[in-house]
């Protein structure tokens, strides 16, 4: 997957030129940042790279990676999905209600994805047909989806103890937990869709220059609806993993996921102004954010100093993206 991306950048395997290319650095800045972080943390605390810790970081990253992929699709069209985290909450609550009603894991999972996808589609239709700014529509959905989650669950969490779900979130292949494997699959598929299908090209054109895309006969409205639908569906997938991870379907907001999903995308070198996108970047952006918190925790950085440290490291990591200019 990673190879294809670089080949894409300028159509030839000339590495010395590649290294001088700004776009290349933008795409890989998050990886470079991650590597620097890993080296520093490992030097300060050898447990950091222990298999156990790597495994738990990867599992912790799975949901964020999936959301970041969804967010990438939206942001590449110059939109933003502020509702991604609360749509996930909605999906989780729907899962919980179905599961509690005894409908089983399959139906519950399906309904979680369907309901989250529906919320995403509503976002898309209002943005595309109603011609309202993405920010406001998805802000409205942020609120509405958490409201729905509260109403459906009556404000109460549902404990979900399912052996299969538990295996999903606790076992895997080697250090790769199943949930991380799912995240990898999502990322690979997303990469192919973005760079190797007509839809992907039309999506980037819609983000880069909606007028030009329209003039070339691309239905930007349909593209917009599609990306929000995708974002919703992935939020639904995230919801299943979330329920597995915390063992319950809760209506409480997952605000941290919202900002982190956008941060992963932007750290991954994707411009909020649309028209450009990579999947590799946001993927490593998500890992970077997770590794940062994990490392600071391992180092025992005091709780008050952690936000300060996170802020500084995030900006330093972004400094690597300066090469983008």
């Amino acid at each position: 997957m990673t190879n294809t991306t670089t080949l894409r950048a300028s159509g030839g395997p000339n590495w010395s030129h590649r290294l001088k290319d700004a776009g290349f650095w933008a795409e890989w800045a998050a990886l470079v940042g991650l590597l620097v972080l890993v080296i520093v943390f490992q030097a300060l605390n050898p447990t950091f790279l222990s298999p156990g810790n790597i495994a738990s970081m990867l599992v912790a990253a799975a949901i964020l990676v999936i959301l970041a992929v969804g967010q990438t699709f939206v942001i590449a069209t110059a939109g933003i999905d502020l509702s991604i985290a609360s749509v996930m909450t909605l999906g989780a609550v729907v899962f919980g209600q179905m599961y509690q009603a005894g409908l089983g894991l399959g139906v519950a999972s399906l309904m979680a994805v369907v309901s989250a996808g529906a919320a995403g589609a509503v976002n898309g239709v209002i943005v595309a047909r109603g011609k309202i700014t993405d920010f406001i529509v998805t802000l409205g959905m942020l609120s509405a989806a958490s409201g729905l989650a509260l109403i459906l669950s009556d404000g109460k969490p549902v404990t979900v103890i399912d052996p299969l779900l538990l295996r999903l979130s606790t076992t895997g292949i080697g250090i790769f937990g199943w949930s991380f494997v799912i995240a990898i699959v999502v990322a690979v598929v997303a990469h192919v869709v973005l760079f190797h299908t007509r839809f992907g090209t039309h999506l980037l054109a819609t983000g880069g220059s909606p007028e030009s895309a329209t003039a070339m006969g691309i239905s930007t409205a349909r593209i917009k609806i599609a990306v929000y639908l995708i974002s919703g569906l992935l939020a639904g997938l995230g919801a299943i993993l979330l329920v597995g991870r915390i063992g319950a379907a809760e209506p409480a907001a997952n605000t941290a996921f919202l900002l982190n999903s956008v941060a992963a995308v932007v750290l991954g070198g994707v411009s909020l102004f649309g028209g450009r996108g990579t999947i590799v970047g946001p993927f490593f952006g998500a890992l970077l954010l997770i590794a940062l918190v994990n490392g600071l925790t391992l180092l025992g950085v005091s709780q008050f100093y952690q936000p300060l440290a996170v802020g500084i490291v995030v900006v330093l990591a972004a400094l690597l993206m300066r090469f983008q200019k």
Binding site: T201, L204, G208, S212
Partner: protein, 262 residues
Amino acid sequence: MTEQPQVAEKTAQPPRDVLLSCDDVSLSFGNVRALVDVSLTLRPGEITALVGDNGAGKSTLVRCVSGIHRPDRGTITFDGARTDFHSPEDAREAGIETVHQNLALVEDLTVWQNLFLNREIVRRLGPVGLLDRRAMQSRAREMVATLAVNVPAVGSRVRRLSGGQRQAVAICRAAGFSSKLVIMDEPTAALGVQETARVEELVFRLRDEGHAVLIISHNFAQVIRLSQQVWVMRAGRCVGGRRTAETTGEEIVGLVTGAIGS
């Protein structure tokens, strides 16, 4: 428009000889009456020119024909059928390719991606269609080489190209796909001498292959050189049409400036 009957005489032929016809097309933006009862016709296999001062309404008319704007009033008939394009997609489907004045390139996509935008070559793998990047890149290289002198790499993003290089890409795109009508809004404005010559060759080739071409130009020498029919716009109105063979550069200038009344 008052000119219309006069011209109609000359062009009064069986309808199969009219590819595009605009009848009383009007469009206003707020207070600006960009098009006022514009009527003109365009024959298949011919090069038609559209001239007029800046702000006369030429690009606006083109945008109506290619589905970007919908006229407030009037009808557009293409290939025998009355059209009501709701989007540029409809127009492209119907067989109209356009080089817009603002180029309509996506700056962040590469040259080859722009050339094949919404016309991508796809390899089918069962239900999924994957882009055939290699095929598109090599065809793109050929297409660009026919027009440009300092050929840009087809893998570079359009943002990096010079003014003329962009123009060449936009023209390649419109010419590269079989269509009944190719519209070019000031295609050679940014082009150098050699590139202009190549575009003129291309326009002739398109005509010879049976495409109709509508070209907008401020270069009257070029208009006389290329076209069989000239239409003149002034302040939103179509004030006249001439068979090129029967007119001169001076007469056209007169129509454009209003020295020759309508």
